[in-house]
């Protein structure tokens, strides 16, 4: 997963409806680069099927 460019940061913030000054966007870009290893780590190694019930839905029956 590559770091986000200045343009990508601005685009994602705009898509989220958030307006931040350019200097704060630059700071965020550095923070996102620090978060990237975590986002890569949660994707590997492959998650076994036994872990998938985490995403099931309960209709509320008792």
């Amino acid at each position: 997963m590559p770091p986000l460019s200045e343009t990508e940061i601005a685009a994602r913030l705009a898509a989220a409806g958030i307006a931040l000054p350019k200097i704060e966007q630059d700071d965020l870009r550095g923070a996102y680069a620090m978060l990237l290893p975590a986002l890569e780590m949660i994707r590997g190694p492959g998650i076994p099927p036994a872990a998938e019930p985490a995403l099931t839905f309960a209709a509320g029956e008792k």
Partner: protein, 458 residues
Amino acid sequence: MHSIAEASALIAARKISPVELAKTALARAEALNDQIHAFIRITPEPALAAAQAAEARAASGSLRGPLDGIPIAHKDIYCTAGIPTTAHSAQLKDFVPTEDATTVRMLAAAGVVSLGKLATHEFAFGGPSFDLPWPPARNPWDTTRFTAGSSSGTGAAVAAGIIMGGTGSDTGGSIRGPAALCGIAGIKPTYGLCPRTGILPLAQTLDHAGPMAWSVEDVALLLQAMAGHDPEDPGSANRPVPDFHAGLAQGVRGKRIGVIRHFHESDNPVSPATLAGIENTLAVLRAQGAVISDITLPSLAEYNATGWAIIYAESFAVHEAWMQAAPEKYGEYMRHRLALGSLMTSADYIQAQRRRRDLITRSIAATQGVDLLITASAMGEAPPITAVSKWASLEKPGFTMPFNVLGWPALSLCSGFGEAGLPVSVQIIGKPFDDASVLAAGHAFEKATAFRATRPAI
């Protein structure tokens, strides 16, 4: 300063008065708040009214239990009817709830006397911040030092001997961090044990409510009042609540304790004093009959990657509308942390929840042969408050996050003092809904050591 257990016995024997206790605590709160900023709001009138009611019950022999007349205070993300609840933020500067949080109501029913509302990192996430309507709490052991957060005011006020206990919340370590750096005890109970209704959320799948106090025994007494089913909280467990105070007597004889040595020796090496405190804890518990062995869990980094991905995503969802409408009303740390969450994708969040389930499965398998776990709760003594980085959570993996990801009960308690004379700490963890064994182990350590005899000289 009495412990809750001591004060409770004295109130019941009519040797001390809840009104006098409240007046003394209120005076100390007023006298120290300019130094430690533990309180956002001190509320003398309702405090004295509650103390007078407790005193009347003491006089008529109708005390409600061990918390009746005991001075505490609430983290300012706990809603309090008729009393402003700000989350330490300009966003909620004038917010006055119409109802109490469930746990506030439960504690009031037990007779506690609330002195007011305590400092927090902004919305339990953004801190330590110097650009909010109130200053950040300071560590009573050395007011130039960090309390940790986010339950910073609770940690400071308990350590300073203003209140005997208080409420905290813990999404990635916000009870255990301040407990560690302020030299007190705090438990993040099992997920679902204490209702969160009426507590402003940070990240709902990781948020826990819990108590903090000077000793583990006092934490057990407070937890008793805070635990129970609440149908309004979908994460609340509907199961019997054990007698935590009676459970302290079980001790650790025969308990199998797994030391997660790689967490604090290689994944994120702790200070020499912290390591010595952990080894001393193990020696004390072994001498009382615990069986100690090393165990290996997934890496600290993996739990932290999962937990922080969830926190950034869920917290942004909670604050999305305010971030769009008035981001300038947040302090810089909070605004930037929320903005980081806005950069994540839906796939990032779903992958984190998938990884969380995988970590739970692997952790259960790795701990089959033990009853309790031990590791660090913080790296060492409190750092200077001005030296805390905005992105510290991304720089080194914390010791507390794994047990938010798992939902298992985890207690931080003082294990000694470091090179600068400030407290160091140890973390004791249990299996889901075995909070009683965690408390019993912590209590056994405290009773066998003298660390509870030293208070900060403030």
